[in-house]
């Protein structure tokens, strides 16, 4: 079925266009992004349940962007009356003028930026989904999650609880200017299983998830996630700490994705080039990894939770080859950063929601697969670890340091898994060294869309990353 576009947005579109026309009398460029995204978040554990109509991306509101004298200004609001469009335009202008007064009083100068193009464009996209979150039988879903949770705790006496979470969001966004009318509607869903356990006074939890740009029909797959979570919890509870040092590593597709995201995902967000905060700007055309490293970024790379038709500035989705056989080719760019750098936007201008500013952000960041099998890669390791499970990571585009917190490391000695597990694992290093050490890649190709990504310590958006198993060398602590 098609994910039907929002009737509410269709209803307010004429009023928004009237507001754009009114503001156009005072500004050289005007756009409005309007959103009406609904969804659910259902949580079931042995001890407590909840149903909430909010997810990270549910929202209803508008943001108007205006341009004059080299400056872009924005106004976010969610009390729009289409019958009072002219009044709203006056309100926007008044408050933005008041801001300009403060800027003048403080002697603040403007970062002069060219005007955005506004070529005529129309787009209406309703993507395929199996179900819609707003039409889902939540009673049946709660029962399903309860069965999964029951199965999770029945698998081991050490399991304290098994939390099953199902989230689904129907995204509807409309981007309007004088000449553009873009509307898109799609559904994405993500399910997670958090299994909590204790052994010998030590508590810990495992985390397993599924995601796709599809509807709540994907939640049948959580049964496998429950089994996986149980195995991983057992591994963590029996784990030791790593002896700090440099090791050969094989990263699972999930951990490979974390490296892609932290190493060169953030590092080539080109709004950071504008601020001179990214070393990547100086390395375009230069080697940053081994021949085994090819990396794509874009909403069109794979189908997962961030595979939209256009970004929050109305730029069509893209698929950029950032690294080609170890050579850094280009970055990704939002529309304003592109104007400032004299390049083209790549469809990576994203907002946390209508209340937030656009930044250059990742969508799907993926390493290309190789030709080896996971088994061949393990057999090639003299002494090292197979790293699985992502906890967190932190970018460092200015210096290319990398910090990845990985859930588990499985010891490999003389090409064989020994059964010994370490947890947690801090993987640190210098990005070109890490990517330069990649010597094998598997034929696997998996994406993961359960996480959220911040810029600095805020601006949380959905992102996806992944790739194959990779063999490299890294410092573990």
């Amino acid at each position: 079925m098609k994910a039907k576009f929002s009737a509410y947005l269709n209803e307010i579109a004429p009023g928004l266009k009237e507001m754009i026309a009114e503001l156009g009398k005072s500004y050289d460029y005007v756009s409005v992004l309007s959103t009406d995204s609904v969804g659910f978040n259902v949580r079931v554990s042995q001890r407590v349940k909840s149903i909430n109509g909010s997810t990270l991306t549910t929202e209803r509101g508008n943001v108007v962007r205006v341009y004059k004298d080299g400056l872009y200004s924005e106004y976010s609001f969610n009390r729009f009356d289409p019958d009072r469009a002219k009044d709203m335009a006056a309100e926007v202008k008044n408050v933005l003028d008041a801001q300009l007064s403060v800027l003048a009083a403080t002697g603040s100068k403007v970062y002069d930026t060219p005007k955005l193009d506004d070529e005529k464009q129309e787009l209406f996209v309703e993507m395929e989904t199996g179900m819609l979150p707003e039409e889902t039988d939540l009673s049946a879903l709660v029962d399903k999650l309860q069965r999964f949770s029951d199965e999770g705790v029945a698998m081991s006496d050490e399991v304290i609880d098994c939390n099953c979470v199902a989230q689904s969001t129907h995204i509807c966004k409309m981007f309007l200017t004088t000449n553009k009318d873009l509307r898109q509607s799609y559904v994405y869903s993500e399910g997670t299983v958090l299994t909590i356990g204790a052994r010998d006074g030590k508590s810990d939890q495992s985390y397993s998830g599924i995601s796709d740009r599809l509807g709540p029909e994907i939640f049948d797959g959580l049964g496998e996630a429950v089994k996986k979570g149980n195995r991983e919890l057992n591994d963590i509870l029996g784990a030791d700490h790593v002896i700090p040092g440099e090791y050969e590593i094989i990263t699972s597709p999930e951990v490979s994705g974390l490296i892609a995201h932290e190493a060169f995902g953030h590092g080539v967000e080109m709004d950071m080039f504008v601020k001179k905060r990214a070393l990547g700007a100086e390395y375009i055309g230069k080697r940053v990894g081994s021949d085994m490293v090819t990396m794509h970024e874009g909403a069109k790379c794979v189908r997962d939770v961030t595979s939209y038709a256009f970004d929050d500035e109305g730029t069509p989705a893209g698929d950029v080859i950032e690294i080609d056989k170890g050579i850094l080719k280009t970055g990704v760019c939002d529309a304003l950063a592109a104007l400032r750098l004299g390049t083209k936007p790549t469809g990576n201008g994203k907002r946390e929601n209508f209340e937030h500013k656009v930044y250059t952000r990742m969508t799907n960041t993926m390493f290309d697969p190789g030709t080896s099998t996971k088994e061949e890669m393990i057999a090639s390791v003299k002494k090292g670890y197979l790293l699985e499970g992502m906890d967190s990571g932190m970018e460092d585009p200015k210096h290319w340091g990398i910090q990845c917190i990985v859930s588990r490391g499985y010891e490999i000695i003389d090409g064989k898994l020994t059964g010994k597990v370490i947890s947690p694992v801090i993987m640190t290093g210098y990005v070109p060294d890490l990517l330069g050490s990649i010597s094998m890649a598997s034929t696997d190709y998996e994406s993961y869309g359960n996480g959220a990504c911040g810029k600095g310590h805020k601006e949380w958006v959905k992102t996806v990353d992944g790739g194959p198993y990779l063999k490299a060398v890294a410092k573990l602590g």
Binding site: G53, S76, H399
Partner: protein
């Protein structure tokens, strides 16, 4: 709109309900160097409704929550409330009661324009040099009003300011340039403190340029003297959170010391109603409970669990509330007395995190000072790690305290036996 929603709720057949209505007026300014990248205004209202339904003769209480847009028609709002009533039947939780004690709101509205202007002027006053300067900064100044209404008779409104400034600073020499990142949150603009903190960060930048790789110290004494200390104290606070306890994520018990064989200082932490210029100062929490001063942990012994009404009820905790400001007590010695012997003082991590369940601490070092008696060497790279449950047996806390927005902590925390991986 909120009053219309309340009328719809009264007629909905719900056994109980609550409405949270938050209005925010915010001014934002984004600067690259000192040039304005963009200016923004936010004027938004969020109305969240929860409908409760007694199940199986009141043995269970179901609930469902959703936001209703301020532009929703009565028909649309009525349909959402009816859906929530149906959904609540699927959420069979043990019975609990909403807050019902009368409470008094308060606060005053703040002018985001003035707050934002104060921040701009402060940022223009930061003493920069050709070697250390400001790369970019983002200013967020909010005036917030929060109204909470429930079916048990509570209707209370609080107003408060909240502001954040994110700052990136650079330092450079002939060979290369480095950056440091900071995010400061407070009520309104604390000019004096902000100038002091950013100036200190600029000096860290200078030291980072001269930093050498962190030596592999294996087990070392580590002195925490920055906002990262807050992460350490959050672990204690979360272990005493009612939901954490009820869900089996905390095995701490009231009256039973959290660890044995303590060789250093013990921890005492209070939830407090107010801290100077905290962005969390409000007399009432988001569920209509009065916020007051209360010991959470006293000399390593859990005193009171805290948290939302559902889990507090399950634990039998009376008059609990969602704590928002925390104050730790210091130790008996001064910070200068803690600075002795060999120790590592990290002042900049990529990201310093403490796992709320395991207490595992992790951080990749971007800048630290390796103190060997009087010799101080700036170092970079490598990481610190360990498990708080073990490490807290041998900790010394300074007598002096430092406040980071809603948390007051000892200005120096000295921990023995932390794993330090070299760069």
């Amino acid at each position: 709109m909120t009053d219309r929603i309340i009328e719809l709720l009264k007629r909905s057949g719900a056994d109980a309900w609550e409405v949270k209505d938050k209005n925010v007026k915010a001014w934002e300014f984004y600067f690259i160097r000192h040039q304005l990248d963009q200016n923004r205004v936010r004027d938004v209202e969020h109305i969240e409704v929860t409908v409760y339904r007694k199940l199986e003769d009141g043995k269970f209480l179901g609930s469902a929550t959703q936001e209703i847009a301020p532009t929703a028609s009565d028909e649309e709002a009525g349909k959402i409330i009816a859906d929530l009533y149906n959904r609540a039947a699927y959420v069979k939780n043990p019975y609990y009661e909403l807050n019902k004690k009368p409470v008094k709101g308060g606060g005053e509205s703040f002018d985001p324009a003035q707050m934002a202007r104060d921040f701009i002027e402060v940022m223009q006053q930061i003493p920069e040099t050709s070697g250390e300067d400001i790369n970019s900064y983002e200013i967020f100044a909010e005036s917030c009003t929060r109204r909470y209404v429930n079916s048990e008779g509570i209707d209370v409104t609080v107003s408060y300011p909240s502001s954040t400034v994110e700052v990136v600073v650079n330092a450079r020499n002939e060979d290369h340039e480095i950056e440091l990142y900071r995010m400061y949150t407070s009520g309104t603009c604390d000019k004096e403190n902000l100038v002091k903190e950013i100036s200190k960060t600029l000096s860290f930048g200078k030291d980072r340029l001269a930093a050498v790789p962190t030596p592999a110290l294996e087990k070392a004494t580590v002195l925490f003297t920055t906002a990262d200390s807050v992460e350490l104290f959050k672990w204690f606070a979360m272990k005493m959170h009612a939901a954490f306890k009820y869900r089996g994520l905390s095995d701490w018990e009231k009256g039973k010391a959290i660890c044995d064989d303590v060789k250093g200082d013990t921890f005492t932490i209070k939830a407090v109603k107010e801290l100077p210029n905290s962005s969390y100062n409000a007399p009432v929490d988001s569920q209509g409970a009065e916020i007051r001063d209360m010991y959470i942990l006293k000399n390593n012994v859990p005193e009171n669990f805290w948290g939302d009404v559902q889990f507090s009820y399950y634990l039998g905790v009376q008059d609990s509330f969602i704590a928002s400001n925390f104050a730790a007590e210091g130790g008996e010695v001064s910070e200068s007395e803690l600075r002795n012997g060999n120790y590592l003082e990290p002042v900049e991590f990529s990201d310093f995190s403490v796992d709320p369940i395991t207490g595992d601490i992790v951080g990749e070092i971007r800048l630290a000072y390796w103190h060997e008696g009087d010799k101080v060497t700036p170092v970079r790279g490598g990481s610190v790690s360990g498990t708080l449950a073990e490490l807290i047996k041998n900790v010394r806390l300074s007598r002096e305290l430092s406040q980071y927005d809603n948390t007051l902590v000892p200005s120096a925390i000295r921990i023995e036996g932390v794993t330090v991986t070299g760069a």
